[in-house]
């Protein structure tokens, strides 16, 4: 019943934010405009991504988001074609820390090749050809780190930005910071980020301020939709609102559309799609700069890990998580959805409450429990306790009476020094023993 109620607060907030987007801009951009561009197709198609928890896509717009990578992707690469022979390239590699799976690090690099212009000079008031070309390029590279504590993630980028125009170049060190709060209320995430903190860049005579971006965003999930809203202040512009809509057509295919309130060359609407197949994902977005021309964004992402590791689906999976889980086939997802809808409160109760029989039993043919146990054992022996925990919880979820696995999970918790959960597991084993 509750889901039928309208979230008036959210609607009001979105209307309020939208109102900002129709206010006239007060000032203009500052230097370092390439730092304000979209570097992934998803970012371009959705426009409002500050609270969009799709993992390593988000390194450059909210570094906290990287920690919420759902598909365990390690690598992302983009090619963006702007009008007039301007091309953008983006590469990022991301990985969890071995000793702390709640933390993640990334390295990234992005570059703009602005092409060249035929250099012209002014002589008096007359045109004179210099007989050479003048090139434009800009590069940024850096390190990103993100960490999650409970529902809140925080991230920081340290990056170097350089710009080169006609032989004049300058560079500057900058920082981005971001936060993501998942589950502010049910189905609602909130994120904030401040990008391009740092000093000035000097190409020639003047030291120029870099365009900073202050952004706060919300993501609200409703059925198969993610509704996104960002309030963004770019440089000296007045705050603007951007909106995005992500439609999860099915498990692997997403359709995206966005309204970019900052861009004013045209109606600012962009759209695209994302397709995931196992560990590989491809995204495409289309945007345009009115009469200047079209923009095409192509982003590839992939995981270097075995698919198995993508089973990072906690027992408290939300519906949206299930949808986004590429490693589960459709049947599993449907079943999991049923389970999650009907037993939203079940979560870890399968461990705590022996009487709480899970209503869902997965078809064993689709999930090789024995193979999972082998992997769990291997993970345990290689001291990858986090991974072992995930696998064992998955087994326990589907075989709540598997005492051996329960005890093994208790051992894992013990090794992880999570004594509370270890005791719970051992108690439950003991109760099973008494029962039997």
């Amino acid at each position: 019943m509750r889901k039928k109620n309208t979230n008036y607060q959210i609607i009001f907030a979105i209307i309020l934010l939208t109102a900002f987007s129709f206010s006239n801009p007060i000032y203009s951009y500052e230097a370092g405009i390439p730092l304000t561009l979209n570097y992934t197709a998803e970012q371009s198609a959705l426009s409002a991504v500050t609270a969009f928890d799709y993992g390593i896509n988000g390194i450059l717009y909210n570094p906290a988001i990287a920690r919420f990578e759902k598909f365990d992707r390690n690598f992302i690469s983009s090619y963006i074609s702007l009008p007039q022979d301007v091309n953008i390239y983006y590469l990022a590699f991301s990985k969890e820390f071995k000793k702390n799976r709640n933390a993640r690090y990334s390295v990234f690099a992005a570059g703009i090749d602005g092409g060249s212009v035929k250099q012209t000079l002014i002589n008096g008031r007359d045109l004179e050809y210099a007989g050479r070309s003048s090139k434009y390029s800009a590069v940024q590279f850096g390190l990103s780190a993100s960490h999650k504590i409970n529902q809140i993630g925080a991230g920081i980028n340290i990056k170097n930005y350089s710009e080169k125009i006609s032989g004049y170049s300058g560079n500057v060190w900058l920082a981005d910071i971001g936060f993501l709060y998942k589950g502010v209320i049910e189905n609602l995430d909130a994120g904030v980020s401040i990008l391009n903190l740092g000093s000035k860049i000097k190409l020639n005579r003047y030291s120029e301020d870099i365009t900073r971006i202050y952004s706060a965003g919300l993501k609200y999930s409703l059925f198969r939709f993610d509704i996104l809203a960002d309030l963004k202040k770019t440089g000296e512009l007045s705050p603007k609102c951007s909106l995005g809509l992500n439609f999860r057509f099915d498990d692997n295919f997403h359709l995206m559309a966005g309204f970019n309130g900052t861009k004013n060359i045209n109606n600012s609407v962009s759209f695209g799609f994302a397709y995931f197949y196992n560990s590989i994902g491809i995204q495409y977005a289309y945007d345009n700069y009115s009469k200047i021309g079209d923009l095409h964004f192509i982003t590839l992402s992939m995981s270097f890990k075995p698919v198995l590791q993508a089973l990072d689906k906690k027992t408290d999976m939300k519906q949206t998580d299930i949808d986004a889980e590429p490693s589960l086939d459709s049947n599993m997802k449907n079943e999991l959805k049923k389970s999650s809808v009907d037993s939203a409160t079940k979560k870890t109760e399968s461990i705590e409450n022996e009487n709480a029989e899970p209503e869902l039993k997965l078809d064993y043919e689709t999930l090789d429990i024995d193979l999972l146990k082998i992997h769990a054992r291997k993970s345990f022996e290689s001291k990858q306790y986090d991974l072992a925990e995930i696998i064992l919880k998955k087994i326990v979820y589907n075989q709540p009476d598997d005492i051996e696995t329960l005890k093994f999970l208790g051992d894992v918790y013990y090794e992880m020094k999570d004594y509370d959960n270890a005791i719970k597991c051992y108690d439950r084993v003991q109760k099973f023993g008494i029962k039997e």
Binding site: R2, P34, R125, S134, L203, Y206, S268, D287
Partner: protein, 702 residues
């Protein structure tokens, strides 16, 4: 519905999110908070009449004897005991050991300890009705000026005073320089001195001298605000000495104070909270809003902390400060590129005006010019003006030196090259025609030939048909002006980029004045007799810079001040050169011009691109000066007429939208919609004119 607990949680979280939004937005504005006006009040409610700074040390003086000082750039102010309740009008900080304040009731206060204690240095031997409005000091010498045109000087820190001048007017401002040059301005009075005030001389000027405020930038450049008597107040500035004032701007409020941290950035404050500043040019001012509802009269403005923080003080104890970054608006170029106008051609005995209008400087009106020639046969007039008149009775090639400075450290020089010749004497008769081989045209040291043929026309026995053959076979560097009579330099200014590509080619102007050799009669203004008038140009082969360039003959219409093409377009051939012959209907001014490439393709040209404003090379661009002088970025081409231009950054944001109201070219200031300099980077330009549309990239380096 949600239960109360959930609702409370939602509300709580909503508040947190809202607070976070507000903090972010506030922080984002805080970054620029220094650019906002910050209001203070001295809590006494008394008017503050003067505020002055020297470095981080500042002082305020006002009604009821209030004095406040700061040692830390205004972070904190201390009340000081003046020992009087008089209205204090003016303050001056020579250094921390000599601070002077003057005001009503002939009050003069001096502090020699950074404003901590004040000594009453009121002179005894003058009327107590005297009110002082101005004060200044040089080292240990002090001058005060006020009502009754009274000027007093003290050389002993105010212990004794010497009367230097007395009259009937109110002197509002006095300024003295170590060189002894000084000025005093006031209501119907303008005095100058060159000997430290021992002798003050009234200056007669052509404008009203009802000065209500003044500011001296240096010994020569003074600003004065004059009450026009109709609630408007005009700003003037001296040029070429204190006797010449030029109008700059008219304010619609009573100006109380004016100051110029540097020549190109001035500030005025006055009645009803008005604050104006000039970001570039003292003849262009913008109103600045103080972010407050209070609209008090503002009496004084001053800069502290290396001229980057402005303080404004006014009535009822209010004072304000704001950080001001000059790099935001100040054009970088502060030097002078003297330009004496290049080459001139004139007949013997005729006068020609040499002009330095093409000189590049931020404000050419306030430069000092000096034309000179070492040749005794040359007569020069107006040698200290922008334009000088040249005359010589002897044919030849003359150099006239032009020296320019800004009364300060910037100076530059250039030479005008004047060719003086006599066409008449060179024409001689040949058979049935009169032909001339004019060896008097001396260009680049080489003689050039012009063959002139005058043929009999039976119907008009008194007149001849004329053809002129201009042979540039001795072309050395570039073709230059060929003239047989005086050329008005104004024509040069009408040469626009859409016609001429080269400075040099733009001077290929021909204007003939013909004479009948046999009789010596002057042949002109009889166009019906010269319907066979022809003119022929020839460019020699092998000039690489002309390869594949197109040329045409243009005619200058003095009425419309436009050049129009009179001939077909001819392509220069590197092997054979170029020869153009056209028939003329009348005597006029003709020129051979190279056509820009864009006319060939209909393309818009943007130059300079990249725009590099600060590299000192004027060919790669100069920061916009407000004049049509080659600063900023130019757009030209046959499609630029009435074009709409959008400048868009890489993020798809329209930085500026421009409309060309000029036929042949458009000059962009490289500023955005808010007149802020566009940041370095890559931009798109969308140019649309009717059905024509093109997109170009512009690179900008600041």
């Amino acid at each position: 519905m949600y239960d109360k607990k959930t609702m409370f949680k939602i509300l709580k979280i909503s508040f947190k999110i809202a607070a976070l939004f507000i903090i972010i937005i506030l922080y984002s504005y805080q970054v620029n908070a220094d650019y906002q006006w910050i209001q203070y009040n001295n809590n006494t409610g008394y008017n503050i009449n003067s505020i002055k700074f020297k470095g981080n040390f500042g002082i305020m003086a006002g009604d009821n004897g209030i004095i406040k000082t700061t040692q830390n750039d205004g972070l904190s102010w201390s009340n000081q005991n003046s020992g009087c309740l008089d209205k204090l009008n003016a303050a001056h900080i020579e250094n921390v050991d000599l601070i002077i304040i003057a005001g009503a009731n002939k009050r003069i206060l001096v502090s020699q300890d950074g404003g901590a204690t004040w000594l009453n240095r009121t002179p005894n031997n003058i009327s107590s009705q005297i009110e002082f409005y101005g004060v200044c000091a040089v080292n240990s010498e002090i001058w005060v000026a006020g009502s009754s045109s009274l000027i007093l000087k003290s050389s002993d820190y105010g212990q004794t005073w010497t009367k230097q001048y007395e009259g009937v007017n109110n002197i509002k401002m006095i300024k003295m320089y170590p060189s002894g040059i000084g000025t005093a301005m006031g209501d119907n009075i303008l005095l100058t001195t060159s000997d430290g005030g021992n002798n003050w001389s009234p200056v007669s000027i052509s404008i009203s001298n009802k000065f209500i405020a003044g500011y001296c930038l240096n010994e020569y450049l003074w600003f004065g605000v004059i009450d026009n008597g109709d609630n408007t107040f005009s700003l003037y500035q001296t040029y070429e000495g204190p006797g010449k004032w030029i109008f700059l701007y008219k304010f619609n409020f009573e100006v109380k104070s004016i100051c110029f941290p540097n020549y190109y950035s001035g500030w005025t404050v006055g009645a009803n909270g008005n604050i104006y500043y000039t970001p570039n040019n003292p003849s262009q001012w913008e109103k600045i809003n103080i972010d407050t509802q209070i609209s008090v009269n503002l009496n004084s403005a001053a800069f502290s902390n290396l001229n980057d923080t402005i303080w404004v003080a006014g009535n009822n104890g209010y004072y304000y400060k704001r950080f001001y970054n000059y790099s935001d608006s100040e054009p970088e170029f502060a030097g002078i590129y003297a330009n004496a106008g290049g080459k001139y051609f004139v007949l013997t005995g005729d006068a020609i005006e040499l002009t330095s209008e093409r000189t590049i400087a931020r404000n050419k009106q306030f430069l000092r010019y000096q034309w000179s020639s070492q040749d005794l046969t040359v007569s020069l007039e107006n040698t200290d003006k922008i334009k000088s008149s040249f005359q010589s009775s002897e044919p030849g090639r003359y150099f006239v030196k032009l020296e320019i400075d800004d009364y300060g450290t910037s100076r530059s020089s250039d030479y005008a090259e004047v060719y003086v010749f006599d066409t008449y004497s060179q024409i001689y008769s040949q058979d049935a025609a009169v032909s001339g081989n004019n060896n008097g045209l001396i260009l680049n040291g080489y003689a050039h030939n012009i063959d002139i043929n005058l043929k009999d026309i039976p119907e008009y026995p008194d007149f001849k048909s004329v053809s002129a053959y201009i042979d540039l076979k001795n072309f050395r560097t570039v073709p230059h002006l060929f003239s047989a009579m005086k050329i008005n330099p104004l024509y040069f200014n009408s040469v626009r980029p859409n016609i001429s590509l080269f400075d040099d080619l733009s001077y290929t102007i021909v204007n003939f004045e013909m004479f009948d050799y046999a009789t010596g009669n002057h042949i002109n203004e009889l166009s019906d007799a010269y319907d066979n008038l022809k003119i022929k140009y020839r460019l020699p082969p092998s000039i690489l810079k002309f390869e594949n360039r197109r040329f045409a003959v243009f005619n200058y219409d003095e009425g419309t001040e436009q050049w129009t093409r009179k001939s077909q377009i001819f392509l220069y051939n590197i092997m054979t050169g170029l020869e153009i012959e056209i028939s003329l209907n009348n005597f006029s001014i003709y020129g051979l011009f190279a056509l820009p490439d864009f006319e060939k393709q209909g393309e818009i040209e943007i130059f300079p691109n990249p725009f590099i404003g600060g590299d000192g090379n004027y060919k790669t661009g100069r920061y916009y000066t407000g004049a049509d002088d080659g600063s900023g970025i130019y757009f030209s081409g046959i499609n630029i007429k009435n074009a709409k231009i959008k400048i868009v950054n890489l993020a798809g944001y329209v930085v500026n939208e421009l409309v060309n109201d000029n036929d042949s070219y458009f000059q962009w200031s490289v500023l955005d919609k808010k007149n802020k300099p566009v940041s370095s980077g890559l931009y798109y330009a969308i140019i649309e004119s009717g059905s024509y549309k093109c997109v170009k990239k512009i690179q900008i380096i600041r």
